[in-house]
Amino acid sequence: MERAPLRMVTGVFALVGAATLLSCARSLPPAAATPIPASATPPIPPPIPLGPSIPDGSTMIFLGVVVSRDAATRITSVRATQTYRTPEPIGPLDGTIVRVVSDSLPLNTTALFYAAGIAAGSQLVIQELSSVRLGPDETPTIAAFVAQADFQAANASVARSAKNADAVVAGVVVSTRAIAISDSARGRLGEHSPLWREASFRVTSALRDDNRAIVGQMLNVMYDAGSDEGDRESARLEPQNSLVLLLRWSKRIAPNSRHGVDVTGRYFVFDAADALPAKDSTRVARLVQ
């Protein structure tokens, strides 16, 4: 089977760090925003080389057939046949024509496209980050490849966040309550400032060796319960929730985001990705050691 070499685009699209995970998490609808996949055994990597990894910044991954090309503009029209990743507002591409800024691919070629958006008008116009020619018998493995990449990116994110956490623990949310803020302090807060609440969190196990001393303790944990768009991906703690928390000391919060709040002896958790279901404790423990 003939296979084209992988073409990677660098420059403005060569982003760094956790972009893949972030893109994946933020592409989910709000109700399903937790970016960590289920802790089941990860899928087995596919037997064919779909690339060394998914290119950073690939907001879209789909299979398609080249139906026309314009050499002058480098615009290739591709009929999408199977969608593996698109941001929520885009939805599945199956059956639609997508205009791809790309190096030329021969007409009628079937390829897997890694891409990011440039424009959305009557049709989508996207920038190819890389593409891999495929035969029809290879397509069933693509979904597993993407899922595996997402799983690895999620794990990398947890490991990175845990490295900078002051405590990584499992436990139960016992209760939650509002934090009183004086009117004078409230006047210093802006519309995008976090709206802090506090949870009592009973630690049942430490997932990092240096946290063993706090097992069995009740921690005071601040979290953001604001309704602003800037708060949308914040962790929301509810009584009886069994969670793994990646905690920071609240004194690390910038003063202009905690006017009127006594942070003494309090931890905080801000990002929903730092409040994981208890079933992930084994996986997280393995990642943070």
Partner: protein, 534 residues
């Protein structure tokens, strides 16, 4: 019902809704492109600007929280039209500063866009909330980005970043400032590249000489051979008077004679009382400590209660401090964090302000603001005032709009005043958001009729996050014409829009949104472009 509420209710009953007045031609267009038919997010808090040299070139912004994920991490989207707003595309064009590329942050929020008065530059202002657990910041970063000499003809037929600029520099951030909220842009009505950006600015906040209300101002951020320089745009405090907290929002206007104006709320008491203040910078003063002190609070005694509490709050007499208090000691609902259903899902954060100056008579000013009704924590009422003398004296006009928000003012070349706002109405017990365009040809001496552009359910779709419709909308004049934008539900099955209405996203036979495969999509909040040709 209080006598004031009864009075306001009677006034509201006089508002006419329906056909357009006179010969004006109105067009309303849903800006969501066809290829985004699957989207169902809150495209709220919109802004739009029309190129003064080529009015076919229009750029708009709105909250596009999840649509951001379509673009790469280095860019945020804006809506662009090259046919006077008839059709729209979303372009990934607003650059993210390199320092923020690797941080966890929110998408671009609080966006506004404005073409410069000479049409050679497009400015965009937006902020991103730093969501990094590991940097202790949790702050906001405001950005002003600029585009030099955009070439409208290059937009069609293929939209891309490469063709947007076509031979001119693609934007680089002109200003990056930590913890600046609502960077709201205004440009001059005459041929210049002057820009004035109102902001709630931590950088200026010290709670002794400045209460965060600020204006970033520049005559030209590209003064030398088209080279951008962040140092060319500087912040100036406008909120000098002791306040009960920070200044929530600042709106600006640049006059053709070089005066720069700002209107803002000054919170006092427990924060549920506000002064409506206008500050003015007199050309050419732009020295820190002197800027925006052109108007002092002087003149006749203030009206109202002579109680001790009123005296303590300064509601009884003028204080001679910088910034003229057009409406002292107005009531305002305590900003709420959770109860939005009592005002059509909208929050109230003291941002309902607008200021406009006549392009042909630079001494003629208009402002709009919202305050509340005694005893009601929910309502906002819109008020208007005019000044014939560069803000030295003001007349509060003898009408108000009850249960309304998001006023936007603009003055046309012939002196006509356009008002765009959103009115919370009730139809058979159902809360409705009506969008009104009102045109005054007598300088707001009498109540202008409401031309209803949209009538949509107020409580559906449900709130996902705030802002729901937005903390503001915008209106702009070009010659005798007006161009505006608002956000509203896209549920055509339960809504009425202006008869001359355009839509690009797909709908099913039952008038509910569908995606490209014809599957139903949840109803959501969309941005709508308004064109008023006179």
């Amino acid at each position: 019902m209080s006598r004031r509420r009864l009075f306001l209710a009677l006034l509201c009953m006089t508002v006419t809704v329906g056909p357009p007045a006179g010969a004006q031609r109105i067009r309303v267009v849903n800006m969501i492109p066809r290829s985004l038919s699957h989207e169902h997010e809150e495209n709220s808090e919109p802004s739009v600007t029309v190129n003064p040299v080529d009015p076919s070139f229009v750029v708009g912004t709105a909250y596009t929280i999840y649509t951001n994920n379509y673009c790469d991490k280095a860019h945020s989207p804006a809506f662009v039209s090259s046919d006077s707003g008839e059709t729209w595309s979303l372009l990934c064009v607003l650059p993210t500063p390199s320092t923020l590329l690797t941080q966890k942050r929110s998408p671009a929020l609080d966006m506004t866009v404005r073409f410069s008065g000479d049409g050679t530059a497009l400015y965009a202002g937006f902020m991103m909330v730093d969501q990094s657990n590991d940097t202790t910041l949790l702050g906001t970063d405001a950005h002003i980005v600029g585009y030099l000499a955009p070439v409208p003809n290059s937009l069609a037929p293929v939209f891309s970043r490469a063709t947007l600029g076509a031979g001119v520099p693609i934007a680089s951030p002109l200003l990056l400032r930590r913890s600046v909220d609502q960077p709201f842009l205004a440009t001059a009505p005459n041929p210049s590249r002057a820009i004035a950006i109102g902001a709630d600015d931590d950088y200026m906040l010290n709670f002794s000489t400045c209460y965060s209300g600020s204006v970033y101002y520049s005559l030209d951020v590209w003064p030398v051979n088209g080279v951008a320089g962040a140092g060319q745009i500087n912040p100036y405090c406008v909120a000098f008077r002791p306040s009960a907290g920070r200044t929530p929002a600042v709106r600006t206007a640049i006059a053709s004679d070089g005066y720069v104006y700002a209107v803002f709320y000054r919170p006092i008491g427990n924060g549920n009382i506000v002064d409506v203040v206008v500050a003015r910078n007199d050309p050419p003063i732009l020295t820190l400590g002197l800027a925006f002190q052109g108007l002092k609070d002087r003149g006749s005694l203030l009206l109202g209660s002579k109680s001790d509490s009123s005296k303590k709050l300064g509601c009884v007499q003028r204080d001679s401090l910088p910034g003229f208090r057009v409406k002292p000691c107005a009531l305002y609902p305590t900003p709420t964090s959770s109860n939005f259903s009592n005002f059509g899902n909208e929050r109230r954060i003291r941002s309902e302000l607008s200021i406009a100056v006549s392009p042909t008579n630079p001494a003629q000013l208009y402002i709009a603001w919202a305050d509340s009704v005694p005893g009601s924590v929910a309502h906002l009422t819109l008020h208007f005032a005019r000044s014939p003398d560069h803000g030295a004296s003001w007349t509060i006009v003898p009408f108000a709009v009850d249960s309304a928000t998001n006023p936007a003012l603009a003055v046309a070349a012939d002196g006509a005043v356009g008002i765009l706002y959103q009115h919370l109405a009730s139809l058979n017990g159902e809360a409705r958001w009506e969008v009104c365009f009102a045109l005054s040809t007598d300088g707001l001496a009498s109540r202008p009729a409401c031309t209803k552009l949209a009538d949509t359910p107020a409580l559906t779709p449900a709130v996902e996050a705030q802002p729901y419709l937005g903390d503001y909308l915008t209106l702009e004049s070009r010659g005798r014409n007006f161009f505006g934008i608002f956000s509203a539900s896209n549920d055509l099955s339960h809504s009425t829009f202006w008869p001359d209405f355009g839509v690009q996203r797909l709908y099913g036979a039952d008038k509910v949104p569908v995606d490209l495969q014809g599957k139903p999509v949840p109803i959501s909040i969309d941005p709508y472009f308004v064109r008023v040709i006179r």
